[in-house]
Amino acid sequence: MLSPDFLPLWIALGAIPGAISRYYLTVILTEWTGGEFPLGTFLINLSGAVLIGFWATLLPAFSPGTILNGFIIVGFLGAYTTFSTYALDTSNLLKQGSYRRALLYGLGSPVVGFLGVEGGMALAQPFLQG
């Protein structure tokens, strides 16, 4: 199970909980906030960015193999975060005429996501030295 031949299996096993948690988190957050702002996808992409910064820094030090990388980074985080829904949400906000929200979301997602990766990398540092 830990041989590189099983990598596709580990990617699939990570992708299933990734996509399902994205779906249910989006549904719950849309119900809470009324759905005027795509907060679900925004928070998912932000938290996924923090997590990828964290794990991409830690994994090479502790587990040089590709299995955990496939499971966490390619599978889970790859499926948990999404780029196509981000573009669709931005386009929908523009069509509704919510220009300020469209700008905030369309520009804010890449900026906050970038800062999230940097934050995740910083969070991993103490574990590397310890």
């Binding site: 990617i11 992708a15 399902i20 960015a49 499926a79 780029f83 196509s84 669709l88 970038f114 990766v117």
Partner: protein
């Protein structure tokens, strides 16, 4: 078991997610071998093509021409396209370009992904509207 809505929802998303994540993985591997690692071409191509498909399918499914079962919608849009495209790798790639101090490449990849992804989605929507118009004109006109 499959007559329970929750089970069908989870099964549809899971099936789409497996196919989406694996096609992303193999496409990124193939493109990296073909084009090298100068820029993260793989994730770029995956995200832009996924945006196009999202614009096309989301518009077609809303229109009057094609009726799809909600479970198939979940499988294709939430499961497949949601997992095929990825935001976390896109941001990780951007951060790595910055760490290598390749500022121009970073800006082109980071800003370009968001901008080209958006216009690619519009392209998919335009194609969907054109297809719907063609069908309406030829079959119902």
């Amino acid at each position: 078991m499959l007559n329970q809505p929750v089970v069908r929802t989870i099964a549809a998303i899971a099936l789409g997610a497996i196919a989406g994540a694996l096609s992303r993985y193999y496409l990124v591997q193939g493109l990296t071998q073909m084009l090298g690692t100068h820029l993260p071409y793989g994730t770029l191509v995956v995200n832009i093509s996924g945006c196009f498909a999202m614009g096309l399918l989301a518009t077609l499914f809303l229109g009057p021409v094609i009726t799809v079962h909600p479970d198939l919608r979940l499988l294709l849009l939430t499961g497949f396209l949601g997992s095929y495209t990825t935001f976390s790798s896109y941001e990780l790639d951007s951060a790595r370009l910055l760490m290598e101090e390749r500022f121009q490449a970073e800006l082109i990849y980071w800003g370009g992904s968001a901008l080209v992804g958006f216009f690619s989605l519009q392209g998919g929507m335009t194609l969907a509207n054109w297809l719907v118009n063609q069908v309406e004109r030829h079959w119902f006109g």
